[in-house]
Every structure is written in structure tokens, then in C-alpha cells.
């Protein structure tokens, strides 16, 4: 995906929205990671932006 095709933008407001969305969705996302052992991974790649503090 090229940045100009980001329908919801890549501005600071867009980043703040993603951060809020990540916070709202975090409980089930963390459960998903734990179920499949992501917290023990040596090399993990996150294919979408700003919630890497959770994924990494």
C-alpha cells in the first residue's frame, strides 16, 4: 500500500486515532498474541504502524 492510498490519512490526527483504536482493541489483541506465543518470538514483524510497543 502506498502512503497516498491511505484512506484514513497519515497525519498526527490519524496517528492519534490509531493509538486510541489500539487501546480499545488491546485486550483481545493481547489474548490473541498469548494464545499463539508471539510474546516468545525472536523476530516479529508488525505490518501496520504505531502499536509496536504492544507487538514487540
Amino acid at each position: 500500500m502506498s502512503s497516498e492510498s491511505y484512506a484514513f490519512g497519515d497525519t498526527k490526527v490519524a496517528a492519534d486515532r490509531l493509538r486510541l483504536l489500539a487501546r480499545l482493541l488491546e485486550p483481545e489483541m493481547t489474548r490473541f498474541f498469548r494464545r499463539w506465543g508471539i510474546l516468545r518470538a525472536k523476530v516479529a514483524v508488525d505490518l501496520c504502524g504505531l502499536h509496536d510497543a504492544v507487538a514487540g
Binding site: 500500500m1 490509531l18 480499545l24 523476530v43 514483524v45
Partner: protein, 190 residues
């Protein structure tokens, strides 16, 4: 490692991620991840912006190490009883669809069992129930971006009415909820 096509987002993420996480600017639409032998690939709310999500997933699986796992977390549906928020969600869907993508990408990847070299471990839907007051904060942020989208420029009065309605809803006390139903798919490389 975090990968994003936006240089601006990569810059923001680098400022937050510290030394332990590496970030890379890269366009993922071509189905290529420019690193190999990856233990875990996490795909979150990205397929909704791609024209060919299944093909992209098929390409990305080639970066997995043997036994590596890909976790996909995408919107199946977003549901609410609030009429204004339903209208807003219809608008957001329209903007994404105008680019040839599908905001609710979960159903498109619900069954990836036919992909070569990977086994599907699970595919299920989980629910997040969010108060309208929290959801509307997020929708207002997004509305600021999408109301300028070329696909919406024909109906200024309706957009102004929606902006006004969202601002009013922000201060309202409501027992209504917005429910995100998220498709979570896990794949393992052979």
C-alpha cells in the same frame, strides 16, 4: 520490526519504539516483506486498505521461518444501534471502497486454508464492545480526514450535518454501544 508505507508514520513510530524495535518504510501491497525467517508476522487493520488482500497475504507468508506464525486481525463488522454512527460508518466504508478496498476485510480472509505452504490454525471472530462516547472520539478524528476525500465532495450539507451530529454526540450520555467484531486468523508455515 514494524513496517509501514508511510514515512511519516515510520518516523512517529521510531520516536516511540526505542532501540529494541526497528522500523522500515516499505510498500506492502506487492505482497513482499523485505526480511526473511520471521517467527511471527502480525497483520492488523491493514488488509482493509489493500485491493487484493488474499494475494498480499499469500506473498507475505513466504517471509515466515519454518513453523513461523502469521496472525491476522481485521474488522469483520462494526455494529451499533446509533443511527448517526451507522451513517458515519457507511461513509467510511464508501471512502475505502472508492479506492477499491473493503473496510470490513475480515470475511475476505476468513478461510485461507487453500494457501500453499501454510496451515490455517484458527479463524474466529471476537467482540469488543465500546461505549459510544469513546467510539465517537475516534470517529470525529477520522471524519476530519475523510470529509475532504474526493469521493465525498458532492454533498457538503450532509457532511456538515454529520460533523455537527458527531460533536453533539461527544457530550451526550448514552447507554448505546459500538461493537467491533474482529476476525482473528492464525496461519503456520510448513
Amino acid at each position: 520490526m514494524g513496517i509501514d508505507a508511510s514515512a511519516r508514520f515510520v518516523g512517529m513510530a521510531q520516536s516511540l519504539g526505542g532501540q529494541a524495535v526497528h522500523f522500515l518504510e516499505h510498500d506492502l501491497a506487492g505482497g513482499v516483506i523485505p526480511v526473511g525467517c520471521v517467527d511471527v508476522i502480525f497483520v492488523h487493520l491493514l488488509l482493509a486498505h489493500l485491493r487484493s488482500p488474499r494475494e498480499a497475504v499469500a506473498g507475505w507468508t513466504r517471509a515466515l521461518a519454518p513453523g513461523g506464525v502469521m496472525l491476522i486481525d481485521e474488522v469483520e463488522t462494526i455494529e451499533t444501534d446509533n443511527e448517526l454512527l451507522r451513517d458515519y460508518l457507511g461513509l467510511a466504508n464508501h471512502v475505502v471502497a472508492a479506492r477499491g478496498a473493503t473496510m470490513n476485510a475480515g470475511p475476505l480472509v476468513a478461510d485461507l486454508g487453500s494457501l500453499p505452504q501454510v496451515a490455517m490454525l484458527s479463524s474466529e471472530v471476537v467482540e469488543h464492545s465500546v461505549a459510544v462516547s469513546e467510539a465517537v472520539e475516534m470517529f470525529i478524528m477520522n471524519f476530519r480526514t475523510i470529509r475532504g476525500d474526493p469521493s465525498l465532495r458532492e454533498d457538503f450539507d450532509a457532511l456538515d450535518a454529520m460533523a455537527h451530529g458527531l460533536r453533539r454526540l461527544r457530550g451526550a450520555t448514552s447507554t448505546q454501544r459500538v461493537v467491533w467484531r474482529m476476525r482473528q486468523v492464525a496461519l503456520r508455515a510448513a
